[in-house]
Amino acid sequence: MQVNENKDFQPLIVAFCCNWCSYAGADLSGTNRLNYPTNVKIIRVPCSCRVNPMFILRAFQRGADGVILCGCHPGDCHYTSGNYFTRRRMTLLFSMLDFLGIERDRTRVEWVSAAEGAKFAATMNEFTEAVRKLGPNRRLEDLRCRKQ
């Protein structure tokens, strides 16, 4: 793994958050005045299983350096079983990205409940730092989308 020494590098992180748990968790971390990096851009989805593998690839295409998918804890899904399907799909997708030689640390699945504001902030701080170390996403970007 290449470690980027550039401390000024500001990664762009896309976080897909499920409406019922993680989005509320992010809200809670805000009302609790917890800090998490502004690099994280949240996209609200009805359920973590709404996230199509294409969404993740498209995020990387448009310049994301890391993509994190947050949903309810297994067993707590608002739609009963959505996150179980997410778990299988994302495991396979991440494994495929790894197989193609794309850094596996740029993608992650985390379970954050609506009560876990602190966990949300901690996860985002940690993930942003991990991606900052990896440096800009070069292996899965679309050159035409690169900002000048």
Binding site: R89, T91, L92, S95, F99, L100
Partner: protein
């Protein structure tokens, strides 16, 4: 074999069991055998071919054909029966409208491998004690039979027919295949090596969509890649992202449904080893969610349509050894 198949087809047409036959006929060249539908005994007599180049899987054609009036006779090789069974499971074919005759499978020949030996102008081949006698416009040439077989046949997973109404020849068995060897070899490389390998392969892609069109699992009426808003609609890839996108998504859409028939790699005009992507998914599914062979039966749940409460977390990918 060809003679016996024609006789069987004629007999079934004559007694009214079926009104059409799906088989193969010669394309532009002797090694270019293409699927075709026959309606009369005369057509069968004149054009029906089954030889060492007949590798095409006709299961996908049955999606449309089985919805027409009357029964159709289909000759299916063992690998084709897996595809057919998978389509039955997904309600894509009408099982009652197909009369399946199981025929012994390969190994089938790869014309590209013969051409790579510098043998051109192929008019026909004969297999004599595993020496391939190739009749060309420049005279007769020889090469060992097993050097000319398709990659997918070299790592054949099964000689067993999982579905049939009638069997020609003997019942085969599921083989102990070495099909995951190459996937394992890649997994043991470093991320940089894997990246270089796939860049080299996928950058050859011309987006002819042959892999998608031939795939018996890809039967959507409207494909995501035909959508102009997908960003990867039918055009040659503009950059490495589009190449990756197409191939990752293509493989992902058949994950858990791919029977590993190997047609995608066979038809690729650029010889990209696309089956490796599918096999990676199959291997992951086998190791993470239990052994599963798509098309083996029509009752089990597909791994991506199913879950267990104690499935592994996605972080297993991040915890693996090679970086």
């Amino acid at each position: 074999m060809q003679e016996a198949m024609i006789n069987k087809a004629k007999q079934l047409l004559a007694d009214g069991t079926v009104n059409r036959v799906i088989g193969w006929k010669r394309g532009e060249f002797a090694y270019d055998i293409t699927p075709a539908v026959f309606e009369t005994a005369e057509e069968l007599e004149k054009e029906f071919i089954y030889d060492d180049f007949t590798a095409a899987n006709v299961s996908k054609y049955l999606v449309k054909e089985s919805k027409k009036e009357g029964k159709i006779l289909a000759f299916l090789k063992p690998c084709d029966t897996y595809s057919f069974n998978q389509l039955t499971k997904e309600h894509r074919v009408v099982r009652e409208n197909v009369y399946i005759v199981g025929i012994p499978g390969g190994p089938k020949l790869d014309a590209e491998k013969i051409k790579a030996k510098g043998i051109t102008g192929i008019l026909g081949v004969k297999n004599e004690n595993y020496t391939l006698k190739i009749d060309t416009v420049y005279g007769e040439e020889n090469m060992p039979f097993y050097e000319a077989i398709l990659d997918k046949c070299a790592t054949c997973k099964s000689k067993k027919h999982v579905v049939y109404d009638e069997l020609m020849g003997e019942e085969g068995e599921v083989l102990d295949s070495t099909r995951f060897d190459m996937v394992e070899k890649l997994e043991n490389m470093t991320a940089q090596e894997r990246y270089d390998f796939w860049r080299g392969e996928l950058s050859k892609c011309i987006r002819c969509n042959a892999c998608r069109n031939v795939c018996p699992a890809c039967t959507c009426e409207k494909c995501v890649f035909d959508n102009p808003n997908s960003g990867v609609e039918n055009k040659a890839p503009a950059d490495s992202f589009e190449e990756n996108m197409f191939h990752i998504i293509r493989a992902f859409h058949v994950a858990g449904r791919c029977t590993d028939c190997g047609e995608c790699s066979r038809v690729c005009p650029q010889h990209i080893p696309l089956h490796l992507l599918n096999r990676k998914f199959i291997k992951d599914i086998n190791s993470l969610y239990g052994e599963y062979q798509a098309g083996e039966d029509i009752t089990s749940r597909a791994p991506l349509n199913d879950y267990k409460q104690d499935d592994c977390e996605a972080s297993v990918v991040h915890e693996r050894g090679v970086e």
